[in-house]
């Protein structure tokens, strides 16, 4: 396996649904973005936000395990904003960029360990998080972590 590159395969066999194959796994992705709260697929943007959360939390839990940090629960709230979603809809007369303009991640770590130690592990984990590092480099990501009991 190539250790610096990853591949997936995707098929768009119907409108607004893409089937993604990653190794032996398959998952469905809905429209790039959608404005209906009742929409019955997970949009590509929501997958991206979920992937960022998984990246941050996964990196932290992995490192916490190796550092023998006593972590009970970790949770993240991710908020993403697009520059101008009307550009995605092709609205005549609009301008700007439909891309992600701001990402905010609020994390809550439940641990009985020393708070300073939790923060140290957290900071190190962020340095190791591929997606978080990518969005940080793009200047769009703000991450806050709070230790709770």
């Amino acid at each position: 396996m190539d250790t610096t590159g990853w591949d997936i395969r995707a098929n768009a066999t119907q409108r607004d649904v893409v089937t993604v194959h990653a190794r032996r796994h398959t998952f469905r992705v809905g429209a790039p973005i959608h404005f209906d709260v009742e929409y019955d697929e997970v949009s590509a943007l929501e997958y991206a936000l979920g992937a960022l959360a998984a990246d941050v939390l996964g990196s932290f839990r992995s490192l916490a395990h190796r550092k023998r940090l006593d972590v009970d629960h970790v949770e993240a709230l991710v908020h993403g904003e697009l520059g101008n979603p009307l550009m995605y809809l092709g609205v005549v007369g609009e301008s700007g960029d439909p891309g992600i303009s701001q990402l905010t991640v609020k994390c809550y770590v439940s641990s009985l360990d020393d708070e300073a130690l939790v923060h140290a592990v957290w900071d190190e984990a962020l340095l190791r998080s591929p997606l978080a590092r990518t969005f940080m480099a793009a200047g769009t990501l703000e991450i806050n972590m709070q230790v709770v009991i």
């Binding site: 404005f35 209906d36 979603p85 009307l86 809809l89 092709g90 609205v91 005549v92 007369g93 609009e94």
Partner: protein, 274 residues
């Protein structure tokens, strides 16, 4: 393959695209396909209709009158919602206001919506003018220019106008009857604290507009598809609820008098390039 009818619509919120997706699918199922072209404001849409870039426009009342102006009076109103007919705007005051008529607003402050909102600004100011009260001379106007270009489709301007009055910074505010009904029903406005001082004459609201050269056979087919949408059909009901109607009606032009009067009195199109 039949070319889809190109229908223009102004988006004041991305969520509005959802209803148009549903309407597009509905027309497809009726064998009369449409493509929806979204515009950021009515000015662009009216120009697109006049220039022949689209076949039809879902026009605000102001956009309708602008279309009449830009097509030399040749465009036609072909369909509207039942709820677009016979609307009124209320002048709302606090319950304890001393005002008993519009005349009592002389020397006072009236809060209105966006400068291009027929219901929240243009028509009520026209009614004041008809009553002999000139804006800026006989009374002050506090205007809330939210999303200008959307012709007041976004209710934010009306709500801000009401809040302005509620904060004591205006003596009266203007709002569409549907908003008064909705906001008093939802508890946003307490009917025990506010009352309707006066009401405008009835006027009509949005209307599907076509140019004079729109193919009559295609128009007939399109209208047949539109009228196939019935509230009795559960498959159509959700779509109609989202669009706020119980039935589609023929387009009529008799309900734009109060706005036409206001536009003339306020020289609204004066200096316009189009």
């Amino acid at each position: 393959m039949t070319n889809p009818v190109l229908v223009g619509a102004v988006l004041y919120d991305p969520k509005v695209s959802i209803i148009w997706d549903i309407i597009r699918d509905f027309f497809e199922s009726q064998g009369c396909p449409i493509d929806v072209v979204f515009y950021t404001n009515y000015e662009l849409q009216v120009k697109a209709l006049a220039d022949g870039h689209i076949d039809m426009a879902w026009n605000s009342p102001l956009a309708w009158l602008d279309s009449v102006r830009q097509t030399g009076g040749t465009c036609r109103a072909i369909a509207m919602r039942d709820t677009d007919r016979d609307r009124v705007t209320h002048f709302v005051v606090p319950q304890d206001s001393a005002a008993q008529s519009l005349e009592d607003l002389r020397g006072k402050t009236l809060a209105v919506g966006a400068k291009d909102s027929p219901q929240a600004t243009l028509i009520p100011l026209g009614v004041m003018q008809q009553a002999g009260l000139e804006p800026g001379e006989d009374f002050e106007v506090r205007r809330f220019d939210l999303l200008v270009g959307k012709h007041g489709d976004h209710v934010g301007g009306e709500l801000e106008a009401f809040k302005c009055m509620a904060a004591g910074e205006a003596d009266a505010s203007c709002m569409l009857d549907l908003n008064w009904d909705g906001w008093t029903g939802e508890g946003i406005i307490s009917p025990s604290s506010y009352r309707i001082l006066a009401t405008t004459p009835r006027f009509d609201h949005c209307v599907f507009t076509v140019r004079a050269d729109f193919d009559p056979a295609l128009e007939k087919r399109w209208l047949e598809a539109l009228y196939a949408m019935t509230y009795e059909n559960p498959d159509h009901r959700e779509m109609m609820d989202m669009e706020g109607l119980k039935a589609w009606e023929e387009g009529r032009t008799s309900g734009f008098g109060p706005l036409g009067y206001a536009l003339e009195k306020q020289a609204y199109f004066e200096g316009s390039d189009a």
